[in-house]
């Protein structure tokens, strides 16, 4: 019992000692058991959980990949996905990650003008991405794809729609930071506020990196090839079992 109390005291002392943590311009957070700022810890925990959320959506999309072709209800992905158009969207989101990290660097240096310019640039690039997604969704809808139309429509709109919702929240967050900055509310000591928003923003970028590859770039005829390989492998199993069985005299 005494050991437990001692260790708890030591942990508290550790937290207090770590209050001087070089947490990139934000050293004045209250003492914590880990010595790390709770808000940043919370954001990383949230991102870890959000990874699972998107993991489930991506898994669902991949599981139903090729189902619409089987059933014969179009439009099918290879008919309507526009790779050059989406590549530009991917590039825009990638550049927004750069402007976001430049906003953080400016904030850490106390460069108010740089902070505002880069925050605005990030929000603008985010809005361009959202505009592109809106256009893409509208085009697909005009071509007959909807949530109810087929499995591709259901899984595609759910996955990319939730990603778009995340981007929208990010844009609102960035514009709020910009507004606070314009009122003089973000200085060098508040750089953790920008860093946490940046973590969220980069997260939506990495999710798009995965979506761009799995949904858009991996060709759909590859799925048919994979199906053939899988079926071939499955057919081999009983044949192999029969062969092995006869070999050992069963």
């Amino acid at each position: 019992m005494a050991t437990a109390i001692e260790s708890q005291t030591a942990v508290t002392a550790h937290g207090a000692g770590h209050g001087q943590e070089a947490s990139h311009g934000h050293a004045d957070h209250p003492p914590t058991s880990t010595g790390l700022d709770h808000r940043k810890m919370l954001m990383w925990a949230f991102l870890a959980s959000d990874t699972m959320f998107f993991g489930a959506l991506i898994a669902t999309y991949m599981s139903y990949r090729g189902r619409s072709e089987e059933v014969g209800i179009g439009p099918f992905p290879h008919e309507i996905l526009d790779i050059p158009y989406t590549s530009v969207s991917a590039f825009v989101l990638l550049m927004s990650s750069l402007t976001m990290v430049l906003a953080l660097a400016a904030c850490q240096k106390g460069d108010q003008r740089g902070l505002r310019v880069w925050l605005f640039a990030t929000a603008l690039l985010g809005m361009i991405f959202l505009g592109g997604q809106w256009f893409e969704f509208t085009e697909f809808f005009h071509e007959g794809l909807s949530l109810q139309r087929n499995m591709f429509g259901a899984t595609f709109f759910t996955l990319t729609g939730f990603h778009g919702a995340h981007v929208t929240i990010g844009v609102i967050w960035l514009l709020t930071l910009l507004f606070i900055s314009l009122r003089g509310g973000i200085n060098k000591d508040d750089s953790l506020d920008v860093e946490i928003a940046g973590l969220y923003w980069h997260f939506v970028d990495i999710v798009w990196i995965v979506i761009f590859t799995l949904v858009y770039l991996i060709p759909y005829d590859e799925v048919e090839g994979a199906a053939e390989h899988t079926e071939g492998a499955l057919r081999l199993l009983p044949v192999t079992a029969h062969y092995l069985g006869s070999f050992v005299g069963l």
């Binding site: 942990v11 810890m41 990638l94 990650s97 750069l98 590859t213 199906a227 499955l234």
Partner: protein, 126 residues
Amino acid sequence: MGSGSASMADHGTGAAMPGTHPGTDHQVDQHQEHPGERVYINVAIILTVVTAIEVAIYYIEAMRGILVPLLIALSVFKFIAVVGYFMHLKMDDPLFRRIFIAGLTISASVVLALLAMFWTEPTFFR
């Protein structure tokens, strides 16, 4: 329990940790500064080039045989670059890395488990 508490206490005081300052934590020593703008711009250029390569190989018919593993490898590279440099996980406290990797591992397991279930189902592609 006892040893865990003791190690926690040692960790807390930081007194017994070699190479650390008394009263602080070893994590402070492991904690590196964020890279500068030049590094960020270089990473962004690399990411742009990798994205261009991804799109280019999509159109090259001769690459079809290795397209899927190559695209996944390039995607993983971009993912690690953004997380490591833009999100500072490479130089930030290891605890953040552990938390994120834990979530990522569960997420990857869910994806792989679902794919294994669906893609080995004989009637799935019929």
